[in-house]
Subunit: 324 residues, 3 copies
Amino acid sequence: VRGDHTLRISGVAGSDTAGPEDLIYADSPRHADRAAKSGAACALVSPDVALPGKTLLVVSHPKLAFAKAAAWLLPGPHIAAGIHATAVIAPSARLAAEVAVGPYAVIEDAVEIGAGTQIGAFCFVGAKSRIGERCLLYPRVTLYAAARLGSRVILHSGVVIGSDGFGYVPGEGRQWKFPQVGGVEIGDDVEIGSNTTVDRGSLGTTRIESGAKLDNLVQVGHNVRIGENTVIAAMVGISGSTSVGRDVVMAGQVGIADHCTIGDRAVLAARTAVLTGKNVPAGQMVWGIPSRPYEKVREQVVWLARLPELAARVERLEKSREGK
Amino acid sequence: VRGDHTLRISGVAGSDTAGPEDLIYADSPRHADRAAKSGAACALVSPDVALPGKTLLVVSHPKLAFAKAAAWLLPGPHIAAGIHATAVIAPSARLAAEVAVGPYAVIEDAVEIGAGTQIGAFCFVGAKSRIGERCLLYPRVTLYAAARLGSRVILHSGVVIGSDGFGYVPGEGRQWKFPQVGGVEIGDDVEIGSNTTVDRGSLGTTRIESGAKLDNLVQVGHNVRIGENTVIAAMVGISGSTSVGRDVVMAGQVGIADHCTIGDRAVLAARTAVLTGKNVPAGQMVWGIPSRPYEKVREQVVWLARLPELAARVERLEKSREGK
Amino acid sequence: VRGDHTLRISGVAGSDTAGPEDLIYADSPRHADRAAKSGAACALVSPDVALPGKTLLVVSHPKLAFAKAAAWLLPGPHIAAGIHATAVIAPSARLAAEVAVGPYAVIEDAVEIGAGTQIGAFCFVGAKSRIGERCLLYPRVTLYAAARLGSRVILHSGVVIGSDGFGYVPGEGRQWKFPQVGGVEIGDDVEIGSNTTVDRGSLGTTRIESGAKLDNLVQVGHNVRIGENTVIAAMVGISGSTSVGRDVVMAGQVGIADHCTIGDRAVLAARTAVLTGKNVPAGQMVWGIPSRPYEKVREQVVWLARLPELAARVERLEKSREGK
């Protein structure tokens, strides 16, 4: 700490809107100017940032420290308090201590919910589902029967966990529904964004492992596995039986067909399409339709833009040959 | 049947997780090894599969037989039983025999619901809607006013049927809403996945014909027609007034612009984009942006990857010409 | 008016389904034939359209006039009437005159709702939210805490406003949640389609300005700004901190990465992808992955289709050179 050790900090804010009791952060000299003009009295900064007149908490990774400070300073989300009188809870459901359930939530038979979990209004928790401790289900989440969530899972409004996967067998002039009766298991510390859908397994199990983060409007097909700490941006679609490793990063609108394998720490740039059965090696960054190593696709893109010019050059060569 | 005719079968499972009373299937010698190690005592197999020690039901299409067996062996989905006391049902609504309505469902004026249909918790059935027999509306489905569903329709959680289409007329510096007051009609045996949206017609009608299957997070615009038994994977978007034939297959993330015609039995590979007003001939497989015959696009993709190399060859030719 | 000034008009319809009291429109001689055969007695037409036997209202822009006439002739949407007995409304919420609230809606503490607004069944209005006058929230809309809507806003079923943005800071082998505690503000006359998601700001504010129209299944990330009267078709995704100008048009399935700037009146053709940090100049029409001026991409597309042929021409040139 450089400056006033007695400052009172009560919240966090961006530099532009911070008041005197808000903590801000600046992780590079580029942001120092904005931070210097802030109403905040105290900032988390990297060693190369100077902010005259402010109290500084110098750390190696200010943004990370800011995220941790925010989790500590800000009140946790308030989704429900106590068990609302209108909640419909089956007598066979077992709710641990300090579980809160909002208005009009429905909790079916033989559900188990761990201590401190908050279930929002209009949530539907299907029979035999198991939810760990200190989870947050925002209003209007659906868990189909027998879904399993670990602890500290956050599900945003409109999420559907455990709906039927998409599988039909064509025959005799119609589509016959293949059984979609497998499981769906979600580890600890997973967060899933609004209106995202996660299908249950057909005969096996769909798994999202601990620490994975999914943005809004993502689709996870039946029997998919998503590894630990993998981060998946909005509107990504992952088809059936695909296995995604740990610490993978997928940017927005990526699509992965069925039966693919995405290695640990792979990075899929925005809008990448991985075709059926393909693998992305561990640690590789890919892009394009179909997916290829990122640098190759960048080169393609450059040449694609010059394609009319290249065609003109070929034409000149042809004319010159004919001219001989 | 080859083997024990007296075996008791009570369920279905995948080879890896099956118990002695579960039925499994193996439709090629490739899967025989896994099936042979299974705990199941009985398997549906094609004539070329041998599984020593197991009772075999030899059929020409084991996966199809398995799907049919599952429908017969497994209990149907249990969404609601009886009419829950908290359901809000307009006095003018007519519910046939054995209709079940879950907690907090809302059924508005002049709705008609056929025998054996189950309506889940938090479903909203708008005024004058008609629902056929033995439909399954999972919790949290919305039907806007005057939606029409056939029989044995399955709608998963979060589905919205009959919302306003997207139509505005620009003028005088703003966007004026074009009327979205048409109908929406869904045939028999249609299944629609979680969080999929189907808009009503603007002045005409949006139609999804019998046997069509839509996956999660699909968007169907106003006045669209989707033909019988057509299968549409997740995240496909179909814009206004497009007509899709019967037995069409669309892979994930396909987009079809407005006023297109997709012929019967066409196949659209993943991420295909059909531009405004274009047609895809009956039976054709297409891919790419914009959509073209699949084989042409494959060839393009190969050449696109070699584009830097092609450019280098052109450069060599130019140098060689200059060098003369 | 040409024809019978005493005709009674009670509704609007398409030419094919209109009855004698319905108003239709025909904005070009191309549509005159269909309009002439219509059961309607009266049509809004442009000066170049003749429909013998029908009463004509001749205007310069028939479709615009039709949209206005429809708004005037058709009854407004009926979402709720009065305050339903089952609605859970916090005592500290302030509802203005003629606010209607449907069954099982939940309105939390310190919410303010303007006159004439209709809140559908199962809507959740989080604490401290402010909603203007004459808004329509169809059944099953979620507003997280402190969302702000202007007047005459229409939100369709499944919309989520104010969910957490997608921001994590990697460190110590896990993803730490960056605070998502900013605001979300929506102007007047905004319409948002079914199952669309709009995240709140992380520290700043997500803004959708007056007159903007968003279709179904759109994703708006944290801290995004969308300008006045901008029109965004289905399945568009806009990543964090991107700024979109006014009167912009985006076709379906467009994706815009984070920190981009889209100028006023720009047009983004279907499936365009704008890469991180890129700008689209005001008034420009763009297409492609990555986005480039529309005409350039069209030229690319043409050459891409001819790429195998171009490669063959290069090969002929090479052979001819070797043959010398």
